[in-house]
Amino acid sequence: MNDMQRMIDAASAHVQPSWDEARLRRVERALLRRRARARLVRTVGGVALAAAVLVVVGLGFRWKAWSEASVQGATVEPPAAAAEPAEVVFPDGSRAQVEDGASLRQREAEQHRVVAEVERGSVRFDVNPGARVFKVIAGQVAVQVLGTAFTVQRSEVGAHVAVDRGRVRVSWPDGSRELGAGEAGDFPPAPRAEVTIVDETATGPEPEIAPVRPRPAPQKPPVEPQWRDHAHRGDYAAAYAALEAQGPGVVRNHPDDLLLAADVARLSGHPAQAVGPLERVLRGHRGDGRASLAAFTLGKLLLDQLGRPAEAAGAFADARALAPGGALAQDALAREVEAWARAGQRDRARLAAEQYVQRYPDGQRAAHVRRLGGLE
């Protein structure tokens, strides 16, 4: 290997900022102070007249949304600023942010029971942890809160539900499903034939998955796209070329497709393009039995091929969290130690190394972990 290649490899592997928690918080505080100052500068001074006009226009705009968000028996907050969504406070302390053009109607509102309906648009709910029953209805879809913050966006055929925190149970006439933090979906879900049929003899395009838009009914049964054919035969270069030609829409929002697309990218020499599908598995399919493997694969990519050790450490930690007693847990912890060490975060590397040595004193990587974690 010549000097230039050694130099590039060294720079890729070792030019890393020491971005520990203390530094992150320090920079974050400075960022928020700068943002607050920038807002203050915009509000006062020579643009006061324009700001006054903006406020008048904004209040008129917000008043319309606020009046649509009015709910009987619930406290309605006045619009705080021209560009802020209207906020509704329920008797149990829960809150809803009503986006532009959305309409929220209350069906029941008591201290320990709230039932609200999203008639149109998007509303974000932040439910008081002490709430007993909090239910949101959107057409034929009902969202039962199990302690969370989530968004419900009404669509023509149902609703799109996205959970920021906690868990919800989404139910519709023919079924129900629980969503955890970071998960989202369109409900009621399309019939299985729409998303999982693989019919090699059929003709017609594969339906696209568009989580935030209502899916049209399929015109014809879908056909196996070329990229999967190539991938299943092990011809990853051809599979990648086919994916590029056909566009990202041919990759279904299902772990089978996402993991296969990630393999295609990774094994055809495009590691950076494998990150997206793996992250989509972790965001939308954490309950799938392969989620831990996806996190581990992501960690390896980030660490070994993309030179992003801090992010890799997070992915390895995620792999362990998804399957604490799984086959990958020991390796994931060892690689997490390595990732923190390469990120220059000695304290975190040491902490992870101590965990490894405690849990796996006879582990295959114990010696390696001790050295990287500074335990020798």
Partner: protein, 188 residues
């Protein structure tokens, strides 16, 4: 900021919140996005700037600009790509200012040994410092293109997009730096 820009910023912040869900439940969307993506932005910034002392300011500037410009981004890859684009712009501007200050004698810092992680060997440190001395001397646009290609591992098309130039221009800039480095590497 106009009404339209404020509304777009609010939509952008909510988009970040949707994509970045899973963090601290009490944090606002900017904070969520910052905690998730700041390590990524800091890494690009350090590799482009070559000085650890510049990274914090660049990261702040990137997120301040990003909150104004993101629109309807839902996929993590889209947000990462946008942040990378903003980071390149901020670094380009900062590097040009640094070059100007150096010309008039206001910047004498030179290459910063602190840009290397503690895990680097002495040989690796020497190689990387040598690299960054070369990068300090080449034009800013060429430096950025080469760094994105070889240190960030970006494909040529992505380099062109991040640099806001044509593919041919990106290739030309990368090749120019390769020639300079090649002349200075006697063992190649």
């Amino acid at each position: 900021m106009s009404q339209d820009e404020m509304e777009r910023a609010q939509v952008a912040v909510r988009a970040i919140a949707r994509v970045s869900a899973g963090g601290d439940a009490t944090a606002a969307p900017l904070e969520l996005a910052f905690r998730r993506y700041s390590p990524y932005v800091a890494t690009i910034a350090l590799r482009l700037m070559g000085r650890d002392g510049d990274v914090d300011d660049v990261v702040q500037e990137v997120f301040l600009r990003a909150i104004k410009g993101l629109e309807q981004l839902r996929e993590p890859e889209a947000i990462r790509s946008w942040l990378a684009t903003v980071t390149v712009r901020v670094c380009r501007k900062t590097l040009r200012m640094r070059r100007l200050r150096a010309m008039v004698g206001f910047d004498t810092t030179g290459v910063d040994d602190g840009l290397m992680a503690a895990t680097a060997s002495p040989e690796q440190r020497a190689l990387v410092l040598r690299l960054y001395r070369v990068l300090e001397a080449v034009p800013v646009d060429e430096r950025i293109a080469w760094t994105l290609r070889y240190l960030e591992g970006e494909q040529l098309e992505a380099v062109a997009k991040l640099c806001g130039c044509s593919l041919a221009t990106a290739k030309r800039r990368i090749a120019a730096v390769q020639q300079v480095i090649g002349r200075l590497m006697p063992n190649e």
